[in-house]
Symmetry: C2
Subunit: 204 residues, 2 copies
């Protein structure tokens, strides 16, 4: 009996280093994650393969999928649609594979609505920790600098409220270790394991 895979969504403020962490994570061999292939209406570039780099669709096809709620999330950039096809994610999860999605915060909120059982990880800039240190040690920053940083911190805390986990991106390797630990731990959650065994016992 295959355990259903986990949908892991990595997001966070722009510039926090989501892409760098994702690339580092996929270069490692001790974790098996399946990258969610995006769908787009932009034309394939030299060497790009349909179903590998992207699922390439026409505008009409894409809009029809939007109308059918066949996209976990989507957005339009510079005249082209980009989105995450729900069927591909669903099929991969049913095969017992963990699917990894790296995505902007607006997209992550769309995914959360469509897929509340996903694992939502907020990548946090280390500045919050620096801020904490600064406040704790009562540094000599001007009131204005401190106020600005406090406001930024408040906004980031509001953003992280919709997530299950918060991973500090102080060092890419450490951030990767934390994400791997979260995936391992989630696979050990009692509700997942007990349900699997309960189903197995009922089958007989």
């Amino acid at each position: 009996m295959k355990e259903r895979g986990l949908l892991i969504v990595l997001s966070g403020p722009s510039g926090v280093g989501k892409g760098t962490v994702r690339k580092a994570l996929f270069s490692q061999t001790d974790i098996k994650l399946h990258y969610s292939i995006s769908m787009t209406t932009r034309k394939p570039r030299e060497g790009e393969v349909d179903g590998v780099d992207y699922f390439f669709k026409s505008r009409e096809e894409f809009e029809s999928l939007i109308a059918q709620s066949k996209l976990l999330e989507w957005a339009e950039f510079v005249g082209n649609y980009y989105g995450t096809p729900v069927d591909y994610v669903e099929k991969t999860l049913q095969e017992g594979k963990d699917v990894f999605l790296e995505i902007e915060v607006q997209g992550a909120m769309q995914v959360r609505k469509a897929f509340p059982e996903g694992l939502f990880i907020f990548l946090m800039p280390p500045s919050l920790t620096e801020l904490e240190n600064r406040i704790t040690t009562r540094g000599t920053e001007s009131n204005e600098v401190i106020n600005n940083r406090m406001n930024a911190a408040r906004q980031e805390i509001e953003m992280m409220n919709a997530y299950d986990y918060v991973v500090e991106n102080d060092e890419v390797e450490l951030a990767c270790e934390r994400i791997k630990a979260i995936v391992t731990a989630e696979h050990c959650r009692r509700d997942r394991i007990a349900n699997r065994y309960r189903k197995m016992l009922e089958v007989e």
Copy 2:
């Protein structure tokens, strides 16, 4: 601002290898856990130090602590009391240290009542997995053997229901890796981190 430590309770059926996993975990240097020192009324053995190996108490002292609810859990074996003093655990958690408790299932249930915010890990014998494989592959075991194993599995699933995580003890090293991942992941949980930052911002 120190984050409060986690109380980690490792339990599971007798003979599953809790002590072996605990020893392996404490021999590793990449995780900092503080072992919860037990209290007992038995006499110190040669070389045992009060406050290191055990807190040694008289029967009257121990019974007075029971009456004051100063023990997270306790039991009597062969005429001596053994238990976990709540004050020591509480003080260590407040210092921001993770406290580790390895304990029988009856004791774990007492701790769960007194300390529901603890992290309860059920160490699972690999036989459940073997059972799963056997059922999945439709082996040639007799009905009686299969029935006995199914009943044992049902009882173990009932026991694991009170736990947050289930770790299979297929190999001691793997079980340790999973427990370390659980502790790392729990420290990344958004509620913990967001609350800490919220408190920090309100202080100002």
